[in-house]
Symmetry: C2
């Protein structure tokens, strides 16, 4: 299909997305329900079959510079995937070849212009959308997300986030017109200059994927870089290659169908011992890096990959301030779900819950510190009481690191809720655990000021809500956070917490007691991360996330 037909095909979706980012009201282009009524009767079994057909085989993809193959994935639900990918070894020769191939693709892609590139990106998203069920299985068996969550967060919501990034990229590139006639009044004839403004890509983009959200966290950077004219090298987490291999495959198919070089988007799978990401990140050809993962490596990238603009999402200590509530049961249910969803393995899951040591006022009367804790603990036990239902919320523990932190966390602490193991009815080898809650004091800053990634949260006794707010502001400023929440019936407390959240640079959810959870951010409306505290230097998605990925180069000449 010629590019201009592709532009026409996707114009409405792009226009709707552009409108959504200007209003930040509700918008979604990809249905989140895996129901047969939405996706058709055959979609689910076909997607599962497509996924299963990939297992134990060579994944059909070629990467310049690759040598040999690697298979590094084991499902958190048990089986090894056995999918083999071209291995990019950490050698100068291999990296030279890979990056030279990427660079060679850019001139033709630049010529496609913002409209052509947006259309190709949307066609890639459509291709990925058509593989939603296959992708859901791939996300499930690499991240440990339960199936429906993998379908939603790994598919529909990730597609929405990617579309959002394409929309911002398009908007930013077209903010400056392609041409302008400049006419300056002068004595006699005016001075007239014809000007052209060319969008020039910055260079090769490197996307470094994570284990828990291989698509949701990688696609915004990938599509933002691609839409602004850059080639992209995707370096997946060794534990979550398949969702990004499918992504690269879909991208290459669409690119090739429209006459562009497949190597605009390449997969750089590695043997984990190779530490390929660090080697790629400091190469002069790499001018953009998108990273989700540990603060240690994120900080290293920011400090060392100085030839590139670096967008990081790292880690922090997400906070809940509990002051008072007119719906104690709703509070407990909501917090319980946020702590349980995907076994607390979300960068947005709460960790530090500040509660005045003298307790709180509620619609059920005064609740002591201990009663608040037991209220939340009971809500978790109720939520996860039915094991068949529990595994669909919890998913599986993604890797040994999370399990280790969970097992070592309670030592010498006051356990409000102990974690327990659950046997998955369908996947006997899955590692499934319920959340643990520990009680701490505000003086235990050595414990609660570092992130314990996984299903461990702390109820922290403070002297007062004012003290909670101060602690929140200081802790987030210093250690970062992706999310914060507050419960209060007092508008003054909500206002003070909001000011503290602005000071600390973290998004705040107030009095969530229903079907919205602090760990969820909705594409086109909620910003994920602010870039204003140490947990992340960027946001999904705003102007700053796209503006640095290209430059405008102008030319001018006298006009007749």
């Amino acid at each position: 299909m010629p590019i201009d037909e592709l532009v026409t095909r996707h114009q409405q979706t792009l226009d709707d997305a552009l409108s959504a980012i200007r209003t930040r009201t509700y918008y979604s282009a990809y249905p989140e329900s895996p129901s047969p009524r939405v996706y058709g009767e055959t979609a689910a079994p076909e997607g599962q079959a497509a996924y299963e057909a990939l297992l134990g085989k060579d994944f059909p993809l070629e990467t310049p510079g690759a040598h040999g193959r690697v298979a590094t994935e084991t499902s958190p639900f048990g089986p090894a995937l056995g999918v083999n990918y071209p291995r990019v070894p950490n050698t100068t020769k291999a990296i030279d070849e890979l990056l030279a191939a990427a660079q060679a693709t850019m001139p033709a892609w630049r010529e496609a212009g913002p409209d052509g590139r947006a259309a190709v990106c949307l066609e890639i998203l459509a291709r990925l959308h058509s593989r939603s069920f296959e992708l859901a299985h791939a996300v499930m068996h690499t991240s440990g997300q339960a199936f429906v969550m993998a379908f939603q967060a790994g598919g529909a919501h990730a597609l929405d986030r990617a579309l959002e990034a394409v929309a911002y990229a398009y908007d930013e590139q077209t903010r400056t017109p392609a041409t302008a006639l400049w006419e300056k009044p002068a004595k006699g004839e005016p001075l007239r200059m014809a000007k052209a403004f060319h969008v020039a890509p910055r260079g090769v983009g490197l996307v470094i994927g994570c284990n828990t959200f291989p698509t949701w966290n990688s696609w915004p950077g990938l599509f933002a870089s691609l839409a602004t004219g850059n080639a992209v090298v995707v370096k997946p987490h060794p534990g979550a290659v398949l969702p990004l291999a499918i992504t690269v495959q879909a991208a290459q198919e669409v690119l090739a169908e429209h006459g562009f070089d497949r190597n605009l988007v390449t997969l750089a799978a590695e043997d984990p011992a190779d530490k390929l990401a660090a080697a790629l990140a400091v190469r002069p050809e790499v001018r953009i890096i998108d990273f989700t993962g540990s603060s240690a490596f994120g900080d290293w990238l920011e400090a060392n990959a100085r030839q590139a603009v670096v967008y990081t999402e790292k880690s922090g200590v997400n906070t809940v301030i509990i002051d008072s509530t007119d719906d104690f049961a709703g509070l407990c249910r909501n917090v319980a779900f946020s702590l349980s969803l995907y076994t607390g393995q979300m960068c947005t899951a709460p960790q530090n819950i500040y509660i005045p040591r003298e307790g709180i006022a509620t619609n059920e009367g005064h609740k002591t510190f201990a009663e608040v804790g037991s209220g939340i603990a009971q809500a978790i036990e109720k939520l996860l009481g039915d094991e068949a239902r529990a595994v669909e919320i919890l998913g599986a523990v993604v890797n040994a690191g999370v399990l280790q932190r969970l097992e070592s966390a309670p030592e010498g602490r006051d356990v409000v809720l102990a974690s327990r193991a659950i046997t998955h009815p369908a996947w006997r080898d899955a590692t499934v655990r319920t959340p643990a809650i520990l009680a701490l004091d505000a003086s235990d800053a050595d414990v609660y000021t570092s992130e314990c990634f996984g299903p461990v949260s702390y109820l922290i006794a403070t002297n007062s809500t004012d003290a909670s707010i101060d602690l929140f502001r200081d802790t987030v400023r210093e250690h970062g956070a992706m999310t914060a929440a507050v419960y209060s019936t007092d508008e003054k407390v909500l206002d003070a917490t909001e000011r503290a959240a602005i000071d600390a640079g973290v998004a705040l959810s107030m009095n969530l007691t229903g079907g919205v959870f602090v760990n969820q951010s909705a594409a086109f409306s909620d910003f994920h991360g602010t870039g204003a505290n140490p947990a992340a230097n960027a946001s999904f998605t705003d102007g700053a996330f796209v503006a640095g990925r290209f430059r405008v180069v102008q030319s001018r000449r006298h006009a007749g």
Copy 2:
């Protein structure tokens, strides 16, 4: 005047500026002609008197942390200015005080919102505009620019560039609405969330001024940071303090009149031995840096001030490719003026002029390499033949460094045009020099790949125009450039040069033979710098120049 009246007063100017940045056609809000017909009969003498009243005195400004005073300015036209400024010593105590005072100003300024801040910024620009003649003398006697140039580049054009930055800042901040109602369809009642999006400043901005364009190069960063909610510390070049002292004074007056803290904008004058800029630049409170000056210090800032977003304009090797022309006389006149204006002390002035060694085709027949050189040399001699007229183009040599480079440049080289000294009819102690032109060969890369800032240019013999274009691409990629120009009657050559300019990331002017010069960039239409080559990592002004100066922090709650 209440803020809302100020918003009303400046709405039309802001709207016009917002429209101009979207079309990038001609726009100017501040008349560039110093004519009495425009500014009134008394403006010129009053401005001069205001300037003279400042000389030899304590400049009336207070800076937190300052101790003692410094007077560091001598006019390139001769006299020492003797203006004394509060000195900020390079001590922890002084810097602590200065930055604490700056930080304390931000919460109230944040509350003013994008509209209030834009209005206050435009009122500051109006105040500065009312001091145009005073500012012109201050710029003239610190930079060495001739009076009319100081009035235009240091006043009207700088005001336009500042307004452009305010417009981009406003546009970027208001891209996300202040509030949104999010309504997600659900079984039964939709989920409804009321969301608020708060613009949060990044932190203290540091503006590091330069000697040659103290206002034009500093105001965009200053006003971009201020308009986005940040406090700004202005660290002027020790040789060009006065224009920025006047700037800070005007800003403080307007801020105080509208109930804001004067210390939102402060002047950090230094004893040059203190190296204050480097000390300020790495402080954790400083989150934004705008710098114009040497590549050495700019590169140091980019490498070391990692807690901040750093916008730099450094140096490079501006290039002209001469292939052919249908107006040889116009070419020579145009290049001659570009080399002469302000004694070549513009970061946009050409240095490397590539000419095929076999000569070029022109409307006057074939011209040898030597004839092209003598054509340009003769045009310079004609332009600068009348000394009274010459000094109004040349201005004065800004400092000893430029003079030294000029005097040491010709050693052992083929001199096409020798520099000569001119006695300024009005300022006998002024250091005035005409440009020097040397002939080089393409093999002399050791000479022409580094910037010789000042009135020295090179005519470089290449094997062909193709070779010129390749040399241009490679040299700019490696060493940077702020500008490039090409002369050719062949559209293929223009296209190839344009592609090379996009590859190298430098703005290109084609066939300038009239009243537009390669060293000039018009606010609202021409981008100054691209951020795509080593000469600068930013541009006046685009989305990327403003997007990183603030963050959006959201809050959300259930809506009824």
